[in-house]
């Protein structure tokens, strides 16, 4: 790994803390971002010559703050100040700053920065674009690729988001425990949203979003190491992401979990996910992310699809239903219930959901699957047709068409389950 790659990596790694601290100084997102950009430029000039600083984040904060203040002074008094690369040794100034960065202060800085990005006035797509731009430091073209939109559209999304939060009023005092917990909940939801943006899409470019979401979760974990739901969220994303190498076939079509070649799953990511989940569960404070991670872990532990502990998954979905009642959760539970008790039990469980899920692709896919297993071919065909009409991506539609083809081959007869 060469010097420039290291510097690039160090700047990216330090970005969330640095921008967050600069935001606290300047209380203005644009100023903080410009200050950081300026510091990063100077780092690219200075670090190859003087070697990397002991604490890259502290260096970037100090230089960024000075650069922005210089800018203000220069425009107001036209006094020349010595350039930063002449005062290269910042060690003395670094020490007290590092001290100040420790602990709660710095933790609340980063949390505030993330929280500002997920302001409730902003639509989810703008929240995500803003977080990726400001916190991760992705470029506009990178963001455009991740969302499969044009660069102009991506630029516009970020500009609108910034205008939106400029009107918002997020206090800069350290939050109390209740408010901190609330902020954390909102931020975790956004992180999982970023992950799902990448995960639910078929295109490989979007996997970058999953990696970014996992980076966010690791960042949050370093700030709140004993928070079971953050451990759960990180575990959930690592376990889901570990299946990536097996999730798409050669044609780029989604392979259902049961049919995936489990040998392709990324064992290292899964092991990290399992380790984090174990830590979370020691706290005996279950929450929705931990339960979902436990479901993903049950899949990860099954060497073959037929080894899956469906009764365990059924029980976990039942717990999730109690914590977060939603028709989609019940629908997922019905799939597990049907594996344990048969398709009849599944049909019965999802029957009351039809009204609320009448526009949901997955509902009709699941219902069609149950009906097909029961040999009710004509009804299955109706359900599959509805599913195709509601499919959001060509891959989804293709999956259902395979069921219809199988139905045609079976000639409507009862099939083995």
């Amino acid at each position: 790994m060469n010097d420039l790659a290291w510097i690039d990596g160090a700047i990216t790694g330090a970005r969330p803390q640095a921008v967050a601290a600069l935001l606290r100084y300047f209380r203005d997102l644009d100023t903080a971002e410009e200050a950081f950009q300026e510091a990063a430029l100077r780092a690219l000039k200075t670090w190859p010559r003087n070697g990397p600083p002991r604490d890259p984040a502290a260096w970037l904060i100090l230089v960024g703050r000075n650069a922005a203040l210089d800018g203000v002074r220069k425009t107001s008094r036209q006094v020349e100040l010595p350039p930063d690369d002449l005062i290269s040794d910042l060690d003395d100034a670094e020490a007290p700053l590092v001290e100040r960065l420790d602990g709660a202060h710095y933790r609340d800085d980063v949390l505030r920065l993330l929280f500002i990005c997920c302001h409730p006035d902003l639509p989810a797509t703008q929240q995500i674009a803003l977080a990726l731009r400001i916190v991760s430091g992705l470029t506009v073209p990178q963001i455009a690729r991740a969302f499969l939109i044009g660069e102009d559209a991506a630029e516009q999304r970020i500009t609108r988001a910034k205008a939106g939060i400029a009107r918002a009023d997020v206090p800069f005092e350290a939050p109390g425990p209740v408010e901190r917990a609330e902020r954390l909940g909102v931020v975790m939801a956004m992180v999982y949203l970023i992950f799902n943006e990448g995960y639910s899409a078929g295109a490989a470019e979007r996997n970058a979003l999953c990696d970014e979401a996992i980076r966010f979760a690791r960042l949050l974990l370093r700030l709140f190491p004993g928070e079971p739901e953050i451990l759960g969220l990180a575990a959930l994303m690592l376990l889901q992401h570990s299946r990536l190498p097996a999730r798409f076939d050669g044609q780029g079509e989604l392979v259902p979990l049961d049919d995936q070649a489990r040998g392709l799953w990324d064992g290292e990511l899964a092991a990290e996910g399992l380790a984090l989940l174990e830590k979370a569960m020691r706290h005996n404070r279950p929450g929705p992310y931990q339960v979902q991670a436990a479901i993903a872990a049950t899949h990860a532990r099954a060497g073959r699809a037929e080894d899956t502990d469906w009764a365990g998954i059924d029980a976990l979905y039942a717990a999730l239903e109690r914590m977060q009642p939603s028709p989609v959760v019940t629908l997922n539970r019905a799939v597990a219930t049907a594996k344990v008790k048969g398709p009849e039990a599944g049909i019965e469980m999802i029957a009351p959901l039809e009204g609320r899920l009448s526009g949901y692709f997955y509902y009709f896919g699941v219902r069609g699957g149950f009906l097909r297993q029961l040999g009710r071919a004509a009804e299955a065909r109706v359900a599959f047709d509805r599913a195709i009409a509601l499919a959001g991506t060509p891959a989804e539609a293709a999956r259902i068409r395979r069921h219809l083809d199988a139905l045609a081959r079976e000639g409507g007869g009862r099939i083995q389950t």
Partner: protein, 130 residues
């Protein structure tokens, strides 16, 4: 003489490598390991999971904390590699060790990658008074 080489780096950086970067670094290290194995100079080596997976047992008060060992006034004195079912079992082993040697802390960290000792005779055979 046996030496331990302790690896330090910024984990935010090392864990944000892309798959290609990771493969390049790991490939380079594997080559060095191969040569060292042939020279009979390499014992076991391992890569730890990130500090976010760490759990710390404070030995005197038997307090289990999430996260890595963070004090700077104590020094790293030794390492055990243990093979157990889960974190609970690892903590049980740590507590047994703590009873025999109280004070200080044990940080428990899952191992991401373990390269066993390929030397013959067994590891440690070269230790001892010379």
């Amino acid at each position: 003489m046996l030496y331990a080489i302790l690896c330090y780096h910024d984990e935010q950086y090392a864990w944000s490598w892309t798959k290609d970067e990771e493969a390049a670094v790991m490939g380079g290290l594997a080559k060095v390991r191969e040569t060292l194995n042939r020279e009979g100079k390499l014992g076991p080596s391992l890569r730890l999971m990130p500090t976010t997976t760490a759990t710390t047992l404070s030995k005197t008060k038997d307090i289990v904390l999430d996260g890595p060992f963070a004090e700077t006034k104590e020094q790293l004195l030794g390492v055990y590699v243990i093979d157990v079912e889960n974190l609970e079992a690892a903590l049980e082993v740590a507590r047994r060790l703590a009873k025999a040697n109280p004070g200080g802390s044990y940080e428990l960290r899952p191992i991401a990658l373990y390269n066993p000792d390929l030397r013959d005779p067994a590891p440690g055979a070269t230790l001892g008074p010379s």
